[in-house]
Each structure stands twice: as C-alpha cells, then as structure tokens.
Amino acid sequence: MPIKVIKRKKNKSDKVNTPTSSAMIAPTATSLYNKLEDNISLFSALFSDCSDVIFRRFQIGKDNPLLAAIIYVDGLVNRQSVDLEIMEPLMYFTRIDQKDTMSNIDIEIIKQLNITVGEIKEDQNVMSIVNAILSGDTAMFIDNFPIALILNSRGWENRGIQEPTTENVIRGPKEGFTETVRFNTALLRRRIKDPKLKIKGFKLGKRTKTDVVIAYMDDIVNKTLLQEVEKRLNTIDTDAIFESGYIEQFIEDSPFSPFPQMQTTERPDKVAGNLLEGRVAILVDGTPMALIAPATFAQLYQSPEDYYERAIFGTAVRLIRLLGLFLATSLPSFYVAVLTYHHEMIPTQLVLALARSRMGVPFPAILEALLMEGVIEILREATTRLPGTIGQTIGIIGTLVIGQAAVAAKLVSPAMIIIVAITAIGAYITPNYSTTYSIRFIRFPLMLAAAFFGVFGIAAMWLFIIIHLAGLESFGIPYLAPVAPLKLSDIKDTIVRLPLWAMKKRPMIPENRNLIRQGSSTVASSRRRTKW
C-alpha cells in the first residue's frame, strides 16, 4: 500500500500526530502518528545508526490484510518468540472479516488478534515505547492506529543461576542472584510464597533506565522505613546505574564513613530472611548484588549458615568472627605499640622471643608493620586483578618470596609474618565483602596511632571508631543496635544465636508491625516438654 500523506491541519488538542510531510517527522514527537509509515520513519529516525534495531513489516491476515510492523532489538528478544508467537499466528491464522474494513476495525479487535504472547500492553507515548523496545520488548504498530502494542518477548543470553562467588556456605542453598532482576525476584518468590511479598519497580538512571525493584513484606515492614527508602530512591538523579553500589552511594546516610550502611548480598536466602525481619531489599538489574536496608553492625557479622547449623555452633562462629575482627584490626597495632613502648606489657619470655626474632631487622617496628601490611594489600589487590590461571601462581610466588625470602634476608621478623598472615586472613572472616574494606583499612590509622602514642594511641583510635559507630545511623536505625541502644530481646540473635524455636518474636530492630514470628506450639518446643 502506498504511503498516503493526509493533508490535514494539525489539531493541537488531537493526541494523534498528523504530519503534513515526511520532513516534519521529527524524532522529538511525543505521541504516535496515525499512519504506519509515519511511525516507522519516526522510529527509524530515533534509531538511526542503531544496527541492532530490527524493523519488520508484515501483513496481518491473508484475505483482508492489515499493514503492520514490529520493531525490536536483536539480541534482547527471544527470536523464536518473535517468529513463532507474534508473526506466524498473525500472518497465517488471523482472519479479519470482510465487513471489517479499515475504517471500522477498532482497538478492541486489534487486542484480540492472534498473538500468543503472555504480556501485552498498549502504549502511545513515543519515549515509553522506545524504553520498552530497548528493554527487550517488541513494539507492534498497525496501520491507521496511533497506538503501539508492547509485546513481552524479552529473552537474552545471560549467566545462569550459579553458586554465589562472594558468600559461600557449606550447608545451605547454593543459588546466587544473577544479573537479571526478574530471575532474582523469582528466586525471592520461590522462597516466600506469600502475596504480602511486594516487589515494586522503579526505573533509575536517565540514560541507562535501569530496572530497580524494592522488595518488602507488606504486613511486616515499617511503613516509615519503606517511605524513606522510596523517597531516597526517587531523589536519585543520575545518568547511569550500573551496580547496586551506585544506588548505595546515593541513598546512604553517611557517605564518608568507612562502614557500609547497607548490606550487600548475592544470596536469595539472606534477602528472604531479612525481608521477614522487616527490612527492605533493593535489587538492581545488571548486578547480582542486592542491597538490604537498614543494616546494623552486628548484621555484617552474620551469615545465613549461622541459622542452618546447630545453634551452639552458630553462636560459637559468631564469637570467632568477633575475635577475627579484633585481631584483624588491632593485632599489628598492638605489635607496634608493645615493641615500641610497652615491653613490660607482655610476658618476659615472649618479649625475649620477639626480640630474638627481630635481631638484625633494620627497621623500627612501625616501618616493618607498615611495609608488610602494605605489601600484603598490594598482593591482595593484584591477585584479584590477575587472570585466573596465573593468579594462583603469582599468589604462591608472592607469598613465598615475602614469607621466606624476606625473613631470610632479615628484612622483617618472622613474628611480623605471623601477624600479617593473621590480619590478612582475619579481615575475610566477615561474611560481608564490603566490610572487609573497612577492616583492612582501619588498621593503618591504628598502626600509626600505636607508633606515635603506644596503647594510648590505640585506645584513642578505638574510642574514635566507637564514637563514630555510635553516631552512625542507617535509615533511622542506630548502627550499633541492639547493643547500643540496648534491646535485650534482640541480643538473642546478635552475639549469640539462640535456637530457632526460641526466637518467637521478630527482632525489634528494625521496628516492624508484626512482631510474632511463630506460635508457641511448634514441634521443637513441644518436643522439649516431652519427657523421654
């Protein structure tokens, strides 16, 4: 059918655009034209030089065909779905009655066309159609209708669900989030089969138009918290959101604090557990890392595995993590302080052993410590960047050279090597990767303080950290809760981890509206009363 350019005076109140000539088709138009060809030229102007955008014209029905076209982005759509579910039924099986001429087919008939696609929306706004196309939907235009049907045909190559790389557990699910937000929400749904699990969508980033969803339990979450999260998300005004870290930086309370104020995780079970405690999760398309707000300091030392294993060991492991935190941050500074100022603080035998091991080492303790801790940081950073195959090799060579050769050359003392090894490993005892940064880098100021003022310097630095942590808040929740401010009922799941049947109430922090987690007559607690 030839292009008919209808010459009609443009009516401003009319939503339908009617160009007087094809030259007037500007990419700035906001609503669709009546004629198919006008629409096609409009979109080809918008997608000029975009070789991945496919325009396909075809006819609907055989006898009395309607002109139609689909636009989609190659690679973002499921080809099979477009071919077999959109075009084939329309071209072969759609019958349009003889009496239905162009003039009297209305939109309802169009919507009932043979399209075997699950999700169909109609849209008139050019920009939102563009967004839909770029998100992997297929837009279908039909001649004489100033409307587009948005057909969900999304399907692209993606990494399958794999074991999380940063938060490994021995016992527990091995599923991790992937880069596709829909899969991630599905992973949540599979764990919480409750319509109260709400998954609210946002689009953030002016250019990336990233899909961001917030997930929460409608009847548990504190509404003020939810509103606060939404409010902060809506204030984000940026070009691009590539990772949940972008969002974290825009909405966190204290950007210059070294401590993460939101949990990041790629474990769906962790997110689900947190949702049931009344927190809000933020999932971002394009990254497997989900954010959980609000976070408390204690949470950064909890792993889902604590709950899967027996309660005693859950508690024991948490205490070990606390010890690891202490050693990783303060051991080198105590080493420096003791060797520089306070030989008398440690037993004589130990002092002698240390002195013997330091014999011939040319550096003062602080330089030795800074050197070694600096080298270990360099090594660690380098091994993360190195390609997998040589990473291992370099790692071994690096450690051997530093461990053996440096001691043999009397550059550092063997005691220092032990301390460096403990701190390097101890920093990774936290199940939350972002926290390792805080731990790793806190020890440098601590070491310097120890070098200048001995244990007083360490005390002052610790006080500084404690005061800082006490002042921190994450979405209105004190960071050190439930220890400070003390909530005795929440201690059951902080430093210790009581058996699950003993945790009948949800934690008070964050405040939630549905305190009772489980009844009093669970199997476990009734079994406790049974006399064997």
Partner: protein, 371 residues
C-alpha cells in the same frame, strides 16, 4: 512541653541514663579513692566511702523531683524560673564551671596517669590535645551518641572489674582494725574526699531532660549510685586490707598497685591491661562533663543547635589551659580537694535548694511561661 533548645528526636532510655551515670561516675575516682580517703580516716576509710555514697542517695531525689516538675528541661531552662534571673544564672554558671573544672582536672589526671604508666617520654600536652579532639568529636554527636558510646564502654570495661577480685584473697583483717578507731569526726571528714569518686551524678541536671519516663529517674540513679557505693566500699576494704594504710601514703593510684600485687599466670602485668581499659572510662567521664558544659553554655546563650555544637571548640581551649594549670600531680591532688568542696555546693546542695524552692513556690513547667 517540648523544649525548643533540644532536638526532640534526642531521647534516651533509662538504661542509657544508667550507662551515662555509670560512665560519668567511674573514672579517676576509683584509682585514688583508697589513698585520698585513708589519708583522713585511716583504716576506716571504707566507712567514709560508704557514708559519702549514702549521703548522696537522698539528694538524687531532688534531681528527680526537679525533672518531674520540668520534664524535658535542663537546669539552665528551669533554674531562672525557680529562683529568678540573677540567682538562676548564678546557679547555671556555677554548674557549668563545675563541669568544666571536672573535665579539665580529670583530663589532667588522665594525662598524668597515661604518662606515668604508659608513655613516660611523651609530653602531656599532646595527650591533652588528642583527648580534647576526641571529646569535641563526641560532644558534637549529641546525647544519643554519648549514650550509645557509654553503653559500649560499659560492656567493654565491666569485665575487667573481675581483675580486682583475685588480689582480695590476701586481705589481712588486721589492716582494717580497729574499726572506728579514728573517731567519728575524721570518718565524716574522710567522706568529703570520698565524694570526689562519686561526682558525675550531677550530669542528671542535663541528662534527665532527655528521659521521657521521669518517674523512674530516681530509681535508676539510686540504683546506679548504690552499685557504686558497694563497689567503692569493697574496693577500699580490699585495698586497705591488702596493702595497709602506711603504704598508701607513698604511692599514687593504689588501685593499680593493688592489682599489680597479684601474680597472674602468663600475663604478668595485668595491671597494665586494667589501666588500658580503664582509660576508656576516664575518657567518658571527661566527655560527659564536657558535653554537659557545652550544652549548658549553648542553652545559656540560647544558641541554635548548629552553632551550639561548635561551642566545644572554644571550650576545649579553656579546658586545655585549666588542665595545664597544676604544676605537678601533688597540686592536682589539692585541686581535687577544692573540687570535692565545690561539688558539695553545686552537685548536692544546689539541687536540694532548687527542689525545695520549687516545691514551696509551686513552680512547675506550666508556670514557666514560654518554657
């Protein structure tokens, strides 16, 4: 009802009040109480200590009565309402000066203590300055930060009190005998230096403004003081029992020596660990006194909160120079005696007078005009 000068989000729980009081009271007092008190009342120092604590408890009721009359208000808010502008401001200024003095002297004692036990070659000026920076940082966080820090420090330091127990097995009863030998007068006189160890409770003038459940302030503070009375009395008994009054005349910080007197396996110098962790408590004493002074001044000059928190920078300079005034630790001891006497007026008599006048004149928050 809501005080415009205080942030209405700032409220603390009774447990946090307890933590603040405990942190404010525990500090340098513990280190020297046996020496200062036994100087006056000899082996009966523990009776003086007990007496000093018991004297304080009824006066806590005056604080509680004032805060029930003026919920959400600090001393600076209600003093002028009760006794008029002139006398009220005199009360405010004397309270603020008292807190500044406490902060400065405790700071000085802490610096002396650190330099004696840990850093003999470090000039105390640098210790003073570092501590002051920390104190300013804490005071800027407001009452919530202070309350939470107090809780953490309490949990952190409380376990180390266990270290006071093992040496107590070597108490010689003879060192404590004869009871009441020094006479009633000297025992009562001895309770005045003992009061120094209890000062810190006057923070109630400020802290009780952040409590919503004003009825329980007395219970909480009395519990806190009672624990300290028992604790101090036991410490004094233990120290005098182990070391005797003669040695105490020649040593400073007898509590540390007392811990040192016991040999622990492997960790030979447990006293240093105790001293290390006790510095956290001393710091909190300074910090809370400093914050009270900062808040008092900013309320006195009715500064907005955003300016008021910066009062600390100027105040820190004053505190620094006061802390530098005593030439040596002997002079510090004389200053402490003055503090003990000033404290009787400011921390004990002043709340009593204010509470009595308020009761007689039936003044409470409703009559307070714009308060």
């Amino acid at each position: 009802m809501v005080n415009p000068n205080l942030n209405k989000d700032d409220s603390i729980s009774l447990w946090q009040l307890f933590a603040i009081l405990e942190n404010s009271i525990l500090g340098t007092g513990l280190l020297n109480i046996a020496k200062t008190v036994s100087k006056v009342s000899g082996q009966n120092a523990w009776i003086s200590t007990l007496l000093a604590g018991l004297i304080i408890i009824p006066f806590l009721w005056c604080y509680s009565s004032l805060s029930r009359r003026f919920p959400g208000h600090t001393l600076v808010d209600y003093s002028t309402k009760i006794v008029g502008k002139l006398l009220g401001n005199m009360a405010n200024i004397s309270y603020i000066s008292f807190e500044i003095l406490i902060a400065a002297l405790v700071l000085r004692i802490m610096a002396d203590f650190i330099s004696t036990w840990f850093l003999p070659n470090t000039p105390i000026e640098s210790l003073l300055i570092i501590t002051l920076f920390l104190v300013i940082y804490m005071s800027q966080g407001g009452i919530r930060t202070i309350a939470r820090t107090s809780e953490i420090i309490l949990f952190l330091v409380a376990p180390f009190i266990i270290l006071l127990i093992p040496p107590a097995t070597r108490i010689e009863i003879n060192n404590l005998k004869p009871v009441l030998q020094s006479g009633y007068v000297s025992i009562i006189k001895g309770s005045i230096p003992a009061l120094y160890a209890f000062y810190g409770f006057e923070v109630l003038f400020i802290a009780s403004a952040f409590i919503s459940d004003t009825k329980k302030i007395f219970r909480t503070s009395a519990t806190c003081i009672s624990i300290n009375v028992v604790f101090y009395t036991l410490v004094v008994i233990a120290i005098i029992g182990v070391m005797g009054t003669e040695i105490l005349k020649y040593i400073n910080y007898p509590t540390i020596y007392y811990i040192k007197s016991e040999r622990f396996p492997f960790f030979e110098r447990v006293d240093l660990f105790f001293a290390f962790f006790w510095t956290f408590n001393i710091f909190m004493t300074i910090g809370i006194a400093f914050y009270s002074a900062v808040l008092g001044i900013s309320q006195l000059l009715s500064l907005k909160p955003k300016y008021g928190r910066n009062v600390g920078w100027i105040l820190a300079i004053a505190v620094y120079f006061i802390a530098k005034t005593p030439k040596n630790s002997i002079e510090v001891t004389t200053y402490i005696q003055y503090i003990s006497y000033i404290g009787i007026a400011v921390a004990i008599l002043m709340p009593a007078i204010l509470a009595i006048v308020a009761t007689i004149r039936h003044i409470d928050v409703k009559d307070g005009g714009n308060v």
